[in-house]
Symmetry: C2
Subunit: 203 residues, 2 copies
DNA sequence: ACTAAATCGGACACAGACGTCCAACATAGA
DNA sequence: TCTATGTTGGACGTCTGTGTCCGATTTAGT
């Protein structure tokens, strides 16, 4: 649950808190990893270190293993997106409208993390799902609500809707990243496709 | 363009044709690779050889490099799916109906290649697109036709629709593979979601 | 100014995978 | 039956990347 024992800042348990530069380093590593992963989901630690302006060994001070770093990166990103979505009040108003609201909010936040797509792609499905739990957490109730009111099609499982929604969003991110669709055309297209996919009645 | 110089069967250029066992070996390798990739998109050559009941070195007789093998596998799979779809006459009848027809046909054929998903996932986007050209080739005209007749929403680029369709199909394959949705519920769900995503008017 | 915490830099061992090579054996096909 | 074509088994070199270690040096914080 806890990110890693590297986040022992919030728990200055007896000992003195971490030094400010350590804090900074860790932040730069996460930042660099995010950057690097955007262009190549298989970047090695050396490259990440280079981008962070640090030495490879230093990374291991903060993250015991490559995997733990990856986890930290994605966890953080997903958490931030989830938080943004939560702030968009998924429980308020008409389901379709609410979904649109939450979706666009999440999408904009996601813009900060082109990387996500790349990393996600090469993750075992189960892992991927586990990671996205924070997002599912309040997307699922919203979809269920919509199914009840008849706003979304209810002849398919919620899980199906969730998976499709996620896939569509990720693909959209990919299209954006590949510059294959005019940037400002994406958001409306995304909304239209998602609502359509969930079988939203046009009001 | 040509798969590899390993397919020199169709061109018995002066020399005598390949021996039957060589033919068989190559087939078994492709088969094994497909299998193996289904469970782990990063299988190593040793494992593929093991499954094929051959020795690692033998693979290199038929495929000069790992990459070439991967290419051969995906190319073949996609070609077969594409062919099946083509046989479903995408140009005939009402666009939405035609799409449904082509889609389910392709989907069933795809069932033989669970692997595709895994491999695709960790491929650079551009490569992925290039590979899927055979599929796009006659899916695109169909979608365009639908946009003209108003069957599909035309306020988004065709490329967008294509990308979404592909993503949805792949995700469905993933759901199937993960046993997360009852098998026989998938096909109708897939059709519904795709048609919805493309904004198909319910006739 | 002093000390403990961090970073540096570079070396190291280790592991997994690829691709090559070759002598011995097996087999298809004429 | 004879021979070219394939396959075997195993060894080998190479490369890439991970994770560890440690002495030397810098820096934060009191």
């Amino acid at each position: 649950m806890t990110p890693t024992d590297t986040t022992r800042n919030s728990a200055p348990r007896g000992a003195r808190p971490r030094r400010a530069d350590a804090e900074r380093s860790q932040a730069r590593i996460l930042e660099a990893a995010l950057d690097a992963l955007a262009s190549d989901p298989d970047v090695n630690m050396a490259e990440i270190a280079r981008r962070a302006g640090l030495v490879r060994a230093t990374i291991y001070v903060h993250f015991p293993t490559r995997e733990s770093l990856m986890e930290a990166v994605t966890e953080r990103a997903i958490a931030e997106v989830a938080q943004a979505m939560a702030a968009a009040e998924p429980e308020r108003g008409d389901p379709a409208e609410a979904l649109q609201r939450v979706l666009t909010t999440g999408w904009r936040e996601l813009g900060r993390f082109h990387a996500l797509v790349g990393i996600n792609a090469r993750q075992p499905q189960a892992e991927l799902r586990r990671r996205h739990r924070p997002v599912f957490a309040f997307l699922q109730p919203l979809i269920e609500r919509g199914q009840h009111t008849g706003a979304f099609r209810s002849d398919v499982p919620v899980a199906w809707h969730m998976a499709m929604l996620l896939a569509i969003v990720h693909t959209a991110s990919g299209e954006l990243h590949a510059n294959r669709v005019p940037t400002d055309a994406i958001e409306p297209a995304l909304v239209a496709t998602v609502l359509g996919a969930l079988g939203a009645r046009p009001e």
